[in-house]
Symmetry: C2
């Protein structure tokens, strides 16, 4: 089963395999890259990757088989493993793991159970409801003491609404199954804790859930020191592995499992596994020490960070622990003495190790849970800590509990400061929430303004893109180039709107001289890029620009005069007040000129390198060009040169907009999108719709659409109309996103009035209209109509096919469906055009 | 939707419906009966029924629809509901609820969710892994604040082994879902808490899990004061019900549910439900008060029972609370001051009400959990209590935790005494187990001899029956007759071996002047009945007989001389030492004489009435005869008279065995079944089988088979051979239960050597044998063989079909499969016959 090891990591194997055909680029993007940065302490490789890739790097190494049913946010790990397997990448034993996709997570867990009983090294990746479907089998796997690691990108569970985002509701729902649980606080720890889990489970025979925060860690790109496979191979306790294999259920060593037990013996048999759980913390400690010896990164079961004479402690799991750690120096500089105690091994819970790690001086503890169990006295981690303190007899310690980050609500330094303030309050609030405003049951802690606790040399960037325009890919690329070629630490996180293609994407990038622990959005950026002209009239991006920061717009408006005409006064005023350096680039013009249509990713990436000023610009462009040669070289020199040309054109196209001093004196007014909602509210009030009252649009829909949803207080939801996850109908007609870059225009000369376009539209936004003679007389001249066909029923009426331009997503389905080529896609320059097109029809 | 109410309970409706065709008897057995016992405080009806029926009585009343997938031990509730619905029984609204069986519990939960969203009063019944499959939908139902009650017969979850028996692993695995949770401590409370749940959920909008211990309550028959449906109807908060219906999702009131929420608003929306949970304890309190006002049974959220100046408290959920309550007077009589605090509303957990209910004098608390969460600091109830005490600042209280009753391990007064002793110990053991001997990790509390805490006038009976011989049905019947016709409180619990038909059944019956809280096995009985002759040579039933008790055997041995010859010396010695009254009845003779074959239920029931002396014998027989007339009257007077005749014959057939004084001087020796295992162990040791080492048979298989499995210590399982639920193969050959009343005998003159009988046997215990000439020469004379057919391969060999009599279950499959009628079923009188049949072949 073991073969000679002559490779160090799956990516190396792949890179040396040579031509990989059409999938090469997709693969290249998905696989970890190498870079010539500083040497890793483990003699391993620093690679710029996300948490899922880090987890896959380790789990792929240590498994023989995986049963998967990918679910967000764990999918990339599962899919990557499948991809590597298909490409023949080998695990540490020199074998190619077999990855099987099942019919559901329940099936994946069942197959996993069977594979483990048969003596395999088997794993799976899951999250949320997927993990819940595995619960019955988890009891079996744990009850049968089968070594195993389940990798969970921890995510919210669907209750009043679905959320694909990170919190700990799912993992906390399996804490009773008998699985050990270990968690990661950083992307690096996604790698390290996965490794500790795989090493420890073999020795402990207790199965592990290794969890890492969904999206915040699973999808966050950072520099990770990855351990080579030959190193990992040497760390495996072969005696324990052989013992696992010797216990395999197979025809040559038959025995019975899954028996029925009666009341006489069930309890005794259950208690016979105690010793395994008793030993697990010590085994995990030893494996952490061994990983520490190899990598230089030392971990404890409970990791204390903060003053040794701390008066107060915050106990927290997951990425929030990093945020607390990052924020405490600021908090303590205000005269407090607060430390953070991060449990890494959550189950088995070692009260002894917890108490050992907690300084004797601590008098108050705030336990922060990233889950909510309605009806419980407190959340799970709180109950564990409060009971541990109760047992310890240290009756001078006050323990309070709170909730943070549900459904990935932002947890930032100001939240940590609020928790610290509460700890020092005379009467601290207990069972609080932090990060929101609860103006109904008043559980929330008051929040002050955001605090910047990052290293002064850290550069933060915010880039607003249009889903599918290539912005996110370009930013991933840029982050990797910078990460792989400098000593800088990097962090890239991407927020997508739920509309996906055609929705808003916001890239949050950080580059700094020290490891980045800011697992939250960039709220004030050194560089703000807006890759979509219409956004300038939709979102207040300048709110997120630092003083003296750089603002770059992709638009056709290259002069101050054009800006005066097209850029809203409020935006210009804010830029002036912030003393911003302002640039414009007409990216579409460049890309179209270079024959790339509307794919502006190369253009905007070049512009970013030039303006964001993260690393030496010339070196950066050289590296970028080299990357392009690597990626597209096999398509021929012409393609490479076209890209080079586009980069040069892009750089030439950057125009600085010298901010006139008098912009400061402008008076603000509503953005077009704000106005849109303002008008819609007026209309709703007039309509008195029974299904969509203005309150929903005013209190929730509009702020969410305008990217101000974070500020919505609890009271907006605490009414009969909405509580329990109800949402009114008829909200789409208010939304009017206007995301289509092109919309269908009808040629009424060709239209046969068959209505097929209307029936084909997935959004029901292209429709036939019948006009009375009076209406036809009053229509705008551009609104071309014809006599309606259809006999007596429509006699005297006029007919036209018309799209609702602000609802259309530009998918072209109608154009393709029209049997008579009566439709064509056309750009509309701005809202005036739209109005002239549709007149009073909408 | 509401119709006039002119019925009081479903059973009344049914009873007045008249002829019900062939299913009448099954129905009659399943429906609650009425009796002329004392008036119920509620003006309701005292009925003798089990927990599932009590739950169904209430839930059927209060629902419009149920989605079910019956699972042990909740099945009777679901099946009864379906039966009532099929018979047209109406709920409190005068409608017939619709019951739908789904494809799995996941489907049942999904359909339930949909029905609730559509404004229905919907419910389900489940347990164990079934409940686990409902978890994803439970989050949805709770998140959407849909009023609902799930009735759960709490059961163990399959881990190292499957257990169908009661504990709280399943319900504790859903405590995080946002459901409220309420529990019953007695069969009466199964009824009362179900009612409180249904009333409270409508007002609270928080869904409820109403749970009751599997088997110990779900299958325990007691007298229950059932509330009439017209009373229940009046208790429903119609305003709340109408509000629920008004929130229904339907085409006339459309809205959206199940949306996707992003990090900006998910947390706030989740917190908007806080107020509902905050109000729930008060609502439940109010509904408990209203139920109390009607029934005279008053409940608290946390119910204290014990001295007001208690020094120590035991906190416990479920039927164990009743056992503690029953045992504490004895414990406190030894100089302790211990009380019991029983949480009824487990979620939402009201710390305030807990602390209010706990006497100020309490300094030590033992929290007893009926679940185990390996790797947790303590079990869930423990964590809740420890944290509550920690929060309260009452730092002079010591809280310890322990586990009881996993997989329905016996929890008896001696366990309560052990917990009390531990509470008073200088250094109490924490995180202990009670009820077993843990000689490996030493968590268990030491146990003394069993304590009898029942009322002195309570009569306890133990009856050993043969699965399918009618014993259990007869005992149910007897219990109902006594319960329905006397002021006595009754309790009947039935333990079945896993072999079901053909296995051992033990009926545990209690009759007493006060409500019975002994939710554990009868360990010392006033009356022990053995309905199967062979058991006298298998089990030490006399161990469970009280001094001066009555022992009755069904056997053909009607004289002291025959007893001397056939009844083991040890048994006779024990009877003499206990000064037992001993009786014999040849029940098979009576039943066969009356043309009832081997159905001895009527015979043994009559004998029980005569000998157990629970109520006036003559009245009892008259009532019994009346019951028979009611049950079989529709089959004609002849059938009735045959039964009457059988009763009279049975009473005449009772022979007292006057115990000779010298039986005391007999020396004990192994029973046949004990000898069997003794011999098997010797054989296994000689064989040195790789798959079944003697240790398993010695330490586990034999004690379990001999009904001594309760005494097996943890160490028997704590070895590599067995830990994690492994069981060796090849154990059936040791088992040799000998349960077949008749076995197949071959007529070798007719046998064609086709082997079809062998292939058809589900237990592989009838097989063809080939004998060499030497073997054939040495065979016993009864072992009839023929020249083997089959050509050269078997030339010179002899052939015979032979069953293994001790493995055969007497199912007759082989006899029916034989194409040539070569097999017939035949009685074998005893083990000697068997040996003569099989000779050295086995």
């Amino acid at each position: 089963m073991l073969s000679t090891l002559n490779h160090t990591s799956p990516c190396l194997s792949v890179v040396t395999k040579g031509a990989l055909g059409a999938s090469r680029n997709a693969l290249a993007a998905s696989l970890p890259r190498h870079f010539a940065g500083k040497a890793s302490p483990s003699g391993g490789e620093w690679q710029t990757m996300d948490g899922c890739t880090a987890v896959c790097h380790v789990s792929y190494a240590m498994m023989e088989t995986a049963y998967i049913y990918p679910i967000t946010p764990s999918s990339p790990a599962a899919e990557l493993a499948e991809q590597w397997s298909a490409l023949g990448v080998k695990n540490v034993f020199g074998d190619i793991p077999k990855i099987t996709q099942m019919q559901s997570e329940a099936g994946a867990a069942g197959a996993l159970h069977g594979a483990l009983a048969a003596g395999s090294l088997a794993t799976t990746y899951t999250a949320s409801q997927g993990l819940l479907l595995m619960v019955p089998n988890m009891y079996k796997i744990a009850g049968e003491l089968l070594p195993c690691v389940m990798h969970v990108a921890a995510r919210a569970v669907s209750g009043q609404a679905l959320s694909i985002f990170g919190d700990h509701q799912d993992v906390m729902a399996v804490r009773q199954t008998g699985f050990a649980m270990i968690d990661a606080d950083t992307v690096q720890e996604c790698h390290d804790m996965a490794l500790v889990s795989h090493l420890a489970t073999l020795r402990a025979r207790v199965p592990f859930v290794s969890f890492f925060d969904g999206f915040r860690l699973s999808h966050c790109i950072q520099k990770v020191d990855t351990l080579p496979y030959n190193q990992m191979r040497r760390m495996i306790d072969m005696k324990a592995l052989n013992a696992h294999r010797a216990r395999a259920l197979n025809p040559t060593r038959p025995y019975v499992r899954g028996t029925n037990e009666n009341p006489d013996v069930y309890f005794q048999q259950f208690e016979a596994s105690n010793a395994f759980y008793d030993k697990t913390p010590q085994i995990v400690k030893e494996e952490m020490d061994r990983v520490g010896a190899v990598t230089g990164r030392h971990y404890d079961l409970f990791q204390w960070s903060g003053p040794k004479d701390a008066e107060a402690a915050i106990v927290i799991l997951g990425s929030g622990g990093s945020v607390v750690e990052e924020s405490l120096p600021y908090v303590n500089a205000q005269g407090k003495k607060v430390g953070v105690l991060k449990p890494r091994l959550y189950r088995p819970w070692s009260a002894e190790d917890f108490l050992k790690a907690l300084p004797k001086s601590v008098k108050r503890i705030a336990v922060l849970d990233r889950t909510k169990e309605p009806g419980a006295l407190g959340e799970p981690l709180y109950l564990d800590v409060a009971s541990t303190i109760q047992e310890s007899g240290r009756s001078n310690i006050k323990v309070i509990g709170g909730r943070w980050g549900l459904g990935q609500k932002e947890f930032t330094p100001k939240c940590v400061a609020a928790v610290a303030d509460n700890l020092y309050a005379q009467y601290p609030k207990d069972h609080f929430s932090v990060g929101i405003e609860d103006d109904v049951t008043h559980r929330s802690l008051p929040l002050n303004d955001e605090i910047n606790v990052s290293h002064p040399k850290t550069v933060e960037c915010l880039i607003y893109g249009f889903g599918s325009d290539g912005t996110v890919g370009a930013n991933k690329n840029a982050t990797k180039i910078i990460g792989d070629n400098t000593d800088l630490f990097v962090q890239a996180y991407f927020a997508y709107s739920s509309q996906k293609s055609g929705g808003l994407t916001v890239s949050h990038l950080r580059f700094g001289p020290e490891p980045l622990k800011s697992y939250y959005s960039v709220s004030k950026a050194d560089y703000v890029g807006c890759h979509n002209t219409t956004y300038i009239d939709m979102y207040r991006m300048t709110d997120h620009l630092k003083h003296n920061g750089t603002f770059c717009l992709n638009s056709p408006f290259t002069t101050v005069e054009e800006w005066n005409e097209h850029v809203p006064a409020g935006v210009r005023k804010a830029l002036a007040e912030k003393n911003a350096k302002v640039f414009n680039v007409d990216a579409f013009k460049v890309s179209e000129k270079c024959g790339m249509g509307r794919m502006i990713n190369v253009v905007m990436q070049a512009v970013f390198f030039k303006l964001a000023n993260v690393m030496d610009f010339k070196e950066c462009i050289a590296l970028y060009k080299n990357t392009i040669r690597k990626s597209y070289g096999h398509r021929g020199e012409a393609v490479v040169q076209k890209n080079y040309e586009m980069i040069d054109e892009a750089l030439d196209a950057i125009t600085e907009i010298k901010v006139p001093a008098d912009w400061k004196n402008l008076s603000d007014s509503m953005l077009r999108f704000e106005q849109n909602y303002h008008d819609a509210l007026g209309n709703l009030a007039k309509e008195k719709s029974a299904i969509n009252k203005p309150s929903f649009t005013e209190n929730i829909q509009a702020p969410v659409a305008l990217q101000r949803g974070d500020d919505i207080p609890v009271s907006a939801f605490a009414n009969d109309e909405l509580v329990g996850g109800k949402v009114p109908l008829g909200t789409a007609k208010v939304e009017k996103r206007g995301v289509a870059l092109m919309i269908p225009i009808v040629d009424m000369d060709k239209c046969t009035q068959c209505n097929i376009c209307s029936m084909s539209c997935p959004h029901a936004c292209i429709r036939p209209f019948l006009l009375s003679q009076a209406e036809d007389d009053a229509k705008p001249s551009t609104f071309d109509s014809r006599k309606a066909k259809g006999g007596a029923e429509v006699a005297g009426l006029h007919y036209r096919i018309q799209v609702s331009p602000l609802d259309c997503t530009g998918c072209e389905t109608c154009v393709n469906a029209c049997p008579y080529d009566a439709l064509r896609m056309e750009h509309l320059a701005d809202f005036e055009d739209i109005e002239s097109q549709t007149g009073s029809m909408l």
